[in-house]
Symmetry: C2
Subunit: 205 residues, 2 copies
Amino acid sequence: MAQMGRPRAFDRQQAIEQAMHLFWEQGYETTSLSQLKTQIGGGISAPSFYAAFGSKEALFKEAVQCYLESYARVTDALWDDEIAPREAVELTLRRSTKMQCESGHPKGCMVALGTMSAPKHEHAHVTKPLAVSRARTHAGFVRCVERGIAMGELAEGTDAQAMGTAFSSFLLGVSISARDGVKISVFNTSITELMKLWDAASNER
Amino acid sequence: MAQMGRPRAFDRQQAIEQAMHLFWEQGYETTSLSQLKTQIGGGISAPSFYAAFGSKEALFKEAVQCYLESYARVTDALWDDEIAPREAVELTLRRSTKMQCESGHPKGCMVALGTMSAPKHEHAHVTKPLAVSRARTHAGFVRCVERGIAMGELAEGTDAQAMGTAFSSFLLGVSISARDGVKISVFNTSITELMKLWDAASNER
DNA sequence: AAACATATGTATCGATCGGTATAAATATGC
DNA sequence: GCATATTTATACCGATCGATACATATGTTT
């Protein structure tokens, strides 16, 4: 049987994406219900909102999930063993930076900026998936350096934690710089610089 | 003549510092008046608050100024021509990172995290001094690289903008990483790595 | 002492916060 | 047609938002 009852007047998935843009731009606590209601589906009522999503927090969770399954996948290369580790790192840096500078959505990365999305202690649990994602990406960079060492591409004494943190923190900083208007072309030359960290630890120079 | 009227029951400068800690931790929009009133001077009333500071926005401005004149000065070396440019860069990275990981105040840098302090367009002007400070620090890194080139320490073809952005974005990212609990010892090894970018462009290897 | 200046406590302002109760509107299943 | 299921619109909830009126307390100046 098909759906019973009166059909919803707005597209639910599209609504989640519009909410994601708002949360991405302003964070969880700063984004108000009235803002969400105004933006979603060209304007919906409070009962429609709660019938569809349950609560502001529940919608945020869906918006985060939506982000993690789409935009956040620019870091997937870090876990792809079919890609050479150096290339995986560079690809991730360039893909993420490109995404963060794209037009059509807020600048920066929702995961990185999520640090200040719900700064109040009482709301900290809401942004947990974002913190998990940050930890995962950081671990991904470290893992690639470790792969480089294991493959004999990087010197034995290379500090994977140190180099991984350098890549990771740089990428987190891109979110702030991108909001400040730094252009993708500058980031790209900067990434070319940053990759010299890898080459400096390389065995084949 | 001394001050007339009933004397204030709390220390105004200390109040600004307490407010600075709150704004640093949570941002401008997320920090509420009631939170500020509760924390300041062990609890003050609304009229006392407004008599002393004028408004939430005015207090934020003072808190930002207080931060810029104290904690933010960890980047001063970038503009000190008596310090060799490479040392100025490394000193700034280590000093700022150390400060951001210190206990006794919120983790991270108020200037960096200020990007999400007042994300609503209507409040953007409030965080302008923080944006100016970020631009200044970025320019300071670029300037040090340019000094390195001018002094013949770095190769002629070195891209100052690219390397400066690498240092700058890394340092911005430290604010987010520090909030995630990354330890100062890790950052320090990471900075040692990062400085190899300078050495890779150096003439005397 | 009186006059004045400033800070404080209580009580409250209109606006907005996240969230709901109620009932009318619109679909499907029989 | 009629019962059922779901969404809609209107109106409203108590709590909190940033900010203020008013009277009282506490100091200096004269």
